[in-house]
Symmetry: C2
Subunit: 361 residues, 2 copies
Amino acid sequence: MSTANTIERRLTRRVCVGNVPIGGGAPVTVQSMLNTRTVDVEGSVRQATELVEAGCDLVRLAVPDEESATAFGEIARRTRLPLIADIHYSCRLAHLAIDNGAKKIRMNPGNMHNREELKELARRMAGEGIPVRVGVNGGSLDPAFAGQDECDALVNSALDSVELFESCGLRDIVVAIKASDVRTMVSANRKLSAVTDCPLHLGVTEAGTLRTGLVKSSAALGILLSEGIGDTLRISLSAPPVEEVHAGKTLLRCLGLRSDCVDVVACPTCARTEIDVAALAAAVERATASVRVPLKIAVMGCPLNGIGEGKDADLGVAGGREKSVIMRDGKIYETVSSELLMPHFMMLVDDYIAELLSKKA
Amino acid sequence: MSTANTIERRLTRRVCVGNVPIGGGAPVTVQSMLNTRTVDVEGSVRQATELVEAGCDLVRLAVPDEESATAFGEIARRTRLPLIADIHYSCRLAHLAIDNGAKKIRMNPGNMHNREELKELARRMAGEGIPVRVGVNGGSLDPAFAGQDECDALVNSALDSVELFESCGLRDIVVAIKASDVRTMVSANRKLSAVTDCPLHLGVTEAGTLRTGLVKSSAALGILLSEGIGDTLRISLSAPPVEEVHAGKTLLRCLGLRSDCVDVVACPTCARTEIDVAALAAAVERATASVRVPLKIAVMGCPLNGIGEGKDADLGVAGGREKSVIMRDGKIYETVSSELLMPHFMMLVDDYIAELLSKKA
């Protein structure tokens, strides 16, 4: 039992991307973007499937040209999730993407210069129930807002686009203000959240390599989510997209915003560590990546904290020099030779999950 | 120019670990812990040196036995930073560690059961100006506090220890409440911060593998630091300790709490990417890890956001299919064949930093 605060989420209007709701009290969703060439249909379908299996809720693809729009259609037909088209500069490509099954269009109105074309597109989207994500980005801000304080410029540019779309009857609007600077991104989203009821898409852009990007994104999004801000998110990384999904799910789980995945706690290694914690924890993470039940597994290198953490987990290991202790449902389950710990424990993990899933079914 | 909020840090009493201040307005420090065996003097000195070079401010070592205490002395003589001894169960080992040059003792009074011995140790530490870090851990909580709400138990256990040490004249106390659950850790530290002026050491314990641990720790510590809570930190990872240092520095930098390091922004790869962003960004990170000047380097895969981000950075790359653009001080510096981009840009990075450092010297 704990008085750990539950996050009170800000209420936003609900927008549906195909059958996936964003905002209006829906669980925060995890997005990612393919890094395959969209024209590479086989590669794109393969990566999209991998993301779905890792727990991604919404997948985005770039549509930089006509050929990509056609490929988008083929990929959409072969993917279980609603797909989002990423459009720059061209309303024509947005129309083509919708013709080919796009369930949401992400665009930065700051770089769509023909207002009449944009309004026509918005009216079509309103008619067909296709939502838009207004993406305002520190790196490509509409020149009309240059000169303002950066946070204000980002917020005002976003609001300007929201107004434009609403004037065309399109109210299914998700807004994203992204910046590579964490403080700018956090401040701008706080300001935006105070003045709109559109659901917010959170992301730090150009966050960097895995090790740098995870830190920046988790800090920025963690701060906002803890304040109840944010309805959907992408952890942008210069790394395989499946890492973005893993990180997004981990973030939501650790903040208590999602519970449908496995939590692997593992100790930092120190001089007391008696087993290869990192290898065992990684093996457990791999084996449980696609499992959609709440479960806590503790991999601990020594008995000191191992027994205590193990008691708190569904399954646990407390490593020892010769013998290691395996815990199950908070109790000591068996003591095994440390040499045999890895295969032994992995078998138990598989069995435990199989039992859980059969109970659930 | 930006209205991004500056964090207003809570004022705590100042504690000095050797010549490194914690609290009282000092910059937030980054700690790590060796995962070598302390008796392995050569290995430990090598790892400590590696951490110092990566920008670690304080290094901790486990002292599980007498032999380790002696080795601690040898390692302390050969390391540039003040070393902290990690002690469990035994006041005798704490005394030995101090005899051997420990500049701070980390202990969990919850597992030091002889109160008289503990008071004697505290009086010695007060006399010799050796601070203590009271480490209270969800996994090894003093049984006296069992039955309470978990956050309250953690806070009350910490306060109880603070009182004990203060009653012996020892006021140089840093407090850490760690838990593997992010929400518990955040809530407990908020509560603690409201009732003590001791500097707080932040950490999520058993945070997990690199990819999981970075997310949990950055979210938890990001939330607390953004509220002004926290004077020193460790990002615990089941990974090489140098990763803990990199993560800690990145976190502080992105929140604007430290500026003495290089910020590498890199785009997530997408269908527009024309160069190997991850490889180039990683190379830049490696080449600049030990540089202690504020610098922003943008590695972008395409011209779309690349030019904009590059303008905002000291050095930047905007990749292109055949030619890539290199930016310097916000202006286009040169256009090179994309094949030659990596060696070309890395040379520029080296030159730029050499110039900066020579100006600084």
